[in-house]
C-alpha cells in the first residue's frame, strides 16, 4: 500500500519540495501541510523538512513548536506513526520535546555544507529499520546548529535504548558521541541533521538517502497494511 506522507511547511521551510520529490521517487505519495493547519489530513507519516522555520528567530524551532500543526504532529507521534524531522525539523522536534536534548551551534562556529559519511548505529527506528548496524551512508549536511547535546543521563538512556540511530564517521560539528540522528523510545519519532532527501539520485552524488527514506515508507506502509 502506498504510504501517504504529510510534509509540513512552516514559513521559512525550504526543503519541502526535495522531500516530496524523494518520497514520490520512492513510490510514496506526499502532500504539503501548512503549519497553520490543525489537522494533518489523511497521512500515515509526517516529515518536518529542513529550512529556517519562522526565520529561526530566538532559537531554531523555538517558535515553530507553537505552530498550530504541532498539536496534530504530537498526536500522530503518540499514535505510533512515523514522525521524522530533518535538520531544522530535528530542531523543531527537540524544542517540542518530542525528542530529548538540543542542537547548539557547531563547534567551530562555521555553517557546514558538505557530504559526510554517517553510520547506522541502531536499526530500532522507522528510518533505519532493516539497515544493518555499521552500514555507511554518504549524505549531505547543511547546518549551523547541528551540534547535538544532552545531559549525561539522557545520553546513557539513548545509548542503552539503541536510540542513537546514526553517527558521524568523522564528527563535523562537535555533536556529543558523534550523534547525527536519534529516535524516541518507541522508534517512531526520529530526528537527524543530515538530509537523506538530497541523496536520492546518483546525479546528486549519492543515492544512499533512498535507504533511509525507503525504510520510512516501508514502516509507514506496514502500519497502513496492519
Amino acid at each position: 500500500m502506498t504510504a501517504r506522507v504529510g510534509v509540513v511547511l512552516f514559513p521559512g521551510t525550504n526543503c519541502e519540495h526535495d522531500v516530496i520529490a524523494a518520497v514520490e521517487a520512492l513510490g510514496g505519495s506526499a502532500s504539503l501541510v501548512w503549519h497553520g493547519e490543525t489537522s494533518l489530513g489523511d497521512v500515515d507519516a509526517v516529515i518536518l523538512p529542513g529550512g529556517f522555520a519562522h526565520g529561526d528567530y530566538l532559537r531554531p524551532g523555538a517558535i515553530a513548536r507553537f505552530s498550530p500543526v504541532m498539536a496534530a504532529v504530537s498526536q500522530l507521534a503518540s499514535a505510533g506513526a512515523p514522525v521524522v524531522g530533518i535538520c531544522n525539523g530535528f530542531q523543531v522536534l527537540t524544542e517540542a520535546q518530542l525528542l530529548p536534548g538540543a542542537l547548539q551551534k557547531n563547534a567551530g562556529l562555521s555553517f557546514l555544507c558538505d557530504t559526510v559519511a554517517i553510520e547506522v548505529a541502531s536499526s530500532a527506528s522507522v528510518l533505519t529499520a532493516g539497515l544493518p548496524v555499521g552500514t555507511t551512508l554518504r549524505v549531505p549536511i547543511n547546518h549551523f546548529e547541528g551540534n547535538y547535546t544532552c545531559d549525561a543521563a539522557t545520553l546513557e538512556e539513548l545509548r542503552a535504548g539503541g536510540r542513537i540511530i546514526l553517527r558521524y564517521a568523522d564528527n563535523p560539528n562537535g555533536s556529543v558521541y558523534d550523534i547525527a540522528g536519534i529516535a524516541n523510545a518507541a522508534g517512531n519519532v526520529v530526528g537527524l541533521m543530515p538530509h537523506p532527501e538530497r541523496a536520492c539520485d546518483p546525479l546528486l552524488g549519492s543515492d544512499d538517502g533512498r535507504l533511509l527514506l525507503g525504510a520510512l515508507l516501508a514502516s509507514a506502509g506496514a502500519r497502513v497494511g496492519s
Binding site: 528567530y57 523555538a62 507553537f66 527537540t94 530529548p100 547548539q104 563547534a107 567551530g108 547535546t149 545531559d151
Partner: protein
Amino acid sequence: MASYDVMVEVALRPGIADPQGATIERALPALGFTGISGVRSGKAFRFSVEAASQAGAREAAEDLCRRFLTNPVIESSVVTVAPGAAAGSGAAAGSGAAAGSGAAAGGR
C-alpha cells in the same frame, strides 16, 4: 494593574560550548585587549509586563522564560524586574513588546 520593566538575560549553561564567546576571546589579543578571559556570549530581552504586583510581573516573566525564551537543556536565565519608569510615557522602553502577549514578545 501597573507596568513593570523586565530584563531577561539568557546565558548558555556551564559546560555548553559557546563558539561565539570563544571566537571573541581568541580575537582579543590581536586587537590589543589583554587580561580578559572567560568570555561567554548570551542574549538579553527587555519588555514591559502589566501586573497587579512586582511579584506577579516576575512570575509572568519567569513563565515566559521557561516556556519560550530559553531552552532549559542548554540555557539558563536571570530575570530582573523593576517598576516601570515614568509609567505612561514609556514609548521608547516599550517599543512594540509592551502591547504584546507572550508570543509577540519574541521579536526582541
